[in-house]
Amino acid sequence: MADLHNLTARALGALIAGRQVSAREAAEAFLARIEVADPGIHAFLTVTREHALADAAAIDARLKAGERPGPLAGVPVALKDVLCTRGIRTTCGSRILERFVPPYDATVAARLAAVGTILLGKANCDEFAMGSSTENSAFGPTRNPWDPERVPGGSSGGSAAAVAAREAPIALGTDTGGSIRQPAALCGVVGLKPTYGRVSRWGLVAYASSLDQVGPLTRTVEDAALTLNAIAGRDPLDSTSADLPVPDYTQACRAEVRGLRLGVPSEFLGGEVDPTVAGMTRQAVDTLCEAGAEAEECSLPSVTHCLAAYYIIAPAEASSNLARYDGVRYGMRSREHAGHIGMAERTRDEGFGDEVKQRIMIGTYALSAGYYDAYYRRAQQVRTLIRRDFDRAFERYDLLVTPTSPTVAFRLAERADDPLAMKLADICTLPANMAGIPAISVPCGFLEGLPLGLQILGKAFDEPTLLRAAYTYEQATDWHRRRPPL
């Protein structure tokens, strides 16, 4: 079969389970696709060819022995390179970890392996997941499969581009302020940020611990649900992971949306949001209403302060999380140094890129004794207000619907010198992280030949309702069937 790489995870998994296609054939198809497509995209930092073929052979052996290892057995995956993989280098897109080989797997990597997926490689990303364009990778940017002159979004740009370019049916990304959903929107794929605590963060190299969450990037909502089934659930290694039962998310997709109440917050339809984008969001809401949902416009007044508060809290936590990269135990160590403080200084200076340094500086400043109350404490208060806004909204509505990104993918280097414009790319996605609630982006149209995303937000741990609406929308449209011109 020549076109294995165009199949969804669900379809591919079914063929493998039915032994019409071997896991090895599937792995080889995607490895071949990577060879052809990736030179122009640069979605991967590391391709784990040998691992993939060996793991695929093991799956084939299990299938041959009569085992039925589940719907994702033999399905290839890519992991954002901030997720630790035992024995496979994990760079975080940074010089400082260029040669870091973790002796452990991230829980999500282990869980995906446990259901039989095959690791193809590690996907490019903004350094330590800081950025909205994947231009901050120390190893060069990823390009948007729809237009190589444009960014794929960030920071999980490699993961999104890999899925869009058919280099992997499933990729995992991480989302601290929109880093799964925004690149999913800009690359025309599905991106799901689960509820904070739904998926273990063990082995996810932290950017901002209280906001980070791992989630899938896939071509369909059903594939996202399948992947979430595999990775969700309590992990004793992460005390912030929730001890709640994991529902069957694929089952949840099938339910009707009739009677679902949708809120459409007006704050996301003006201001920085492109009027055409806003118009497409309204159209998408109409589509859901045609399927039986009810919608009305509403307000989340505090979200206007979200960007400011996020850019205090996330850098504050980052300044602390990134303090461990001091050249003492692993990763890079500067050759030129005098004394241990000098060594750490030189190592950090040489190892970190500008964006990372800038955020460390901002975070350090925001946490310092004289400014803590004015910045960090205030930002936490804003966060509380945002949560309350959502609580109030979810008393009336089952879901909220907004655009994912205020614009389509911008050109490489276009916003490099305009940090504020760059940060505005996450303006629609940040609130979900601040509130810890789940959100999904699904393709909802094209502008100038570039994809756009619809964002649906739900109550904490209510991924089933979220997936149900996203699936219904997807079934009613065919945006997700379009392929980039590769």
Partner: protein, 478 residues
């Protein structure tokens, strides 16, 4: 010239007795080959996350209760950020705004009577690794200690203690309490109990406080006492000569018996504390605290009172035997096994304490067990060995761990043979006939001399009762 007094505060760090470390499953133990007890969590590897050790939290709740503190229902962890090569994450997980225990006190005995030393806070944190400076001039880090649960107990400010004696009493009592409740082994020489006194002096009667200094690197109670004595005198000297005390951290040189400037120009360290996002806040409900409170063991003050009551010990003996839980347990076992609490107490306060001190051994590591001591007391009661033999046997038991009975057998039994004793006595009379005359002339004080000579001749094996009997018979016969 005004008279001066010191105001002394104290920060004590106690490593907690838990099976595993604070935030990971690594074993919590002292020493060992460097970097043999560490994992991604305690070395701060990328992607690793802390998981709280509930036992460590319970230990701190236990300590907070024993120190009469209030237990915060909503305690939480914070990050204390600073760079040091032995600090793997670049921050230490500690407690800042909401510690587990607040506003307590510890009662101590002073010359002027009982006194309360107020405690400001008791909190939980993780220990750091340890830097090893190699002969090559390079430095290496040992992370075995990294992540070991550490409790910090800080006295209230303004400080309540005034003298080195009070500071020592506070530390002694604190160690007793911590070892009694089983949260710490109290071993200063292994660093499991570390204390940093801070002190300032002021003219007696003045309301304010002088500039304070902090003394680091004290690893014995004696060093704490001497350090405070020295530092008090030094600061008074500075003030008397019209100088000003500099705010600084001072080290302690035990050989010279002096403190010295370590870091001057103290600036407020910028730790950039903020709530630890990788751990959920602690929720310490009443029920949990009650459960711990109900299971609390007897505290040293209660044990002391009970020892006086139950075993009829003099208060000073009861005091000495309740300095640590291990000492008290040792005593109770020896007392109950031997049925002679007084004798057990005397041996422990006398010979055992002397030998432990001289060899720098903790009672928990003593080769003499309570059963050994009880056996020896039984042999004495049976008349198998004399008190003098017992002293030698006790020292040998201490050195070798061989039981009293085996040693007594090896030394040969006590000699009660009248003929042999009479022969030794005749030798002694022959050596000092004049003294013998004085004894027979009614100077009974001389009796002890001859008993001693016989014991000496028998190398301690003669049965003293028999010696006395033979001696009296000989006097009557003379």
């Amino acid at each position: 010239m005004p008279e001066y007094e010191a105001a002394i505060g104290m920060e004590v760090h106690a490593e907690l007795l838990t099976g595993s470390k604070m935030f990971c499953g690594c074993r919590n133990a002292f020493g060992g080959e460097p970097n043999t007890r560490c994992c991604p969590v305690c070395t701060g590897m990328p992607g690793s996350l802390p998981v709280m050790n509930r036992r460590a939290v319970e230990h701190v709740i236990r300590a907070a209760l024993a120190l009469n503190c209030r237990v915060s229902p909503d305690a939480r962890f914070d990050r204390k950020n600073y760079f040091y090569p032995d600090l793997p994450k670049g921050f230490q997980i500690s407690q800042y705004e909401r510690p587990i225990g607040i506003e307590g006190w510890l009662g101590i005995d002073t010359e002027a009577g009982p006194k309360r030393v107020r405690i400001r806070r008791v909190h939980l944190e993780e220990d750091t690794g340890k830097l090893l400076h190699l002969a090559t001039g390079e430095s290496a880090v040992d992370f075995n200690r990294s992540g070991v649960p550490l409790m910090e107990i800080v006295t209230e400010f303004p400080p309540d203690m005034r003298t080195a004696e009070e500071a020592r009493a506070y530390l002694t009592k604190l160690r007793a309490v911590l070892t009694y409740i089983g949260v710490s082994d109290g071993k200063m020489e292994e660093g499991s109990l570390r204390c940093e006194p801070n002190l300032s002096v002021r003219p007696v009667g003045s309301a304010g406080l002088g500039t304070k200094t902090e003394i680091k690197n004290l690893n014995s109670f004696r060093a704490v006492y001497r350090g405070i004595e020295y530092e008090t005198a030094r600061q008074i000297g500075v003030l008397r000569s019209g100088g000003a005390v500099a705010q600084e951290t001072r080290g302690w040189d035990d050989a010279r018996g002096q403190t010295f400037t370590q870091r001057s120009k103290e600036v407020e360290q910028e730790y950039r504390y903020f709530p630890e996002p990788d751990l959920v806040p602690l929720q310490i409900d009443e029920e949990w605290v009650d459960r711990i409170r109900r299971a609390m063991p007897e505290l040293p003050d209660a044990a002391r009172a009970r020892f006086v009551e139950q075993y009829e010990l003099p208060p000073h003996a009861a005091d000495a035997l309740t300095q640590t839980r291990a000492t008290a347990d040792f005593f109770e076992e020896a007392a109950l096994t031997s049925g002679d609490p007084r004798a057990a107490a005397n041996w422990m306060i006398g010979d055992l304490a002397r030998l432990l001190n001289a060899s720098g051994t903790e009672i928990t590591d003593s080769r003499v067990s309570p059963r050994h001591l009880a056996d020896m007391l039984a042999l004495m009661a049976e008349g198998v060995i004399s008190g003098k033999m017992a002293k030698g046997i006790f020292e040998e038991m201490f050195a070798t761990g061989v039981s009293a009975r085996a040693l007594a057998d090896r030394a040969g039994p006590q000699v009660s043979d009248t003929a042999a004793i009479a022969a030794w006595l005749e030798e002694a009379i022959a050596a000092e006939p004049r003294v013998w005359q004085e004894l027979c002339g009614g100077d009974t004080r001389k009796q002890g001399y001859f008993v001693g000579q016989v014991m000496k001749a028998s190398r301690g094996k003669a049965n003293p009762a028999e010696v006395n009997r033979v001696l009296r018979a000989r006097m009557e016969g003379a």
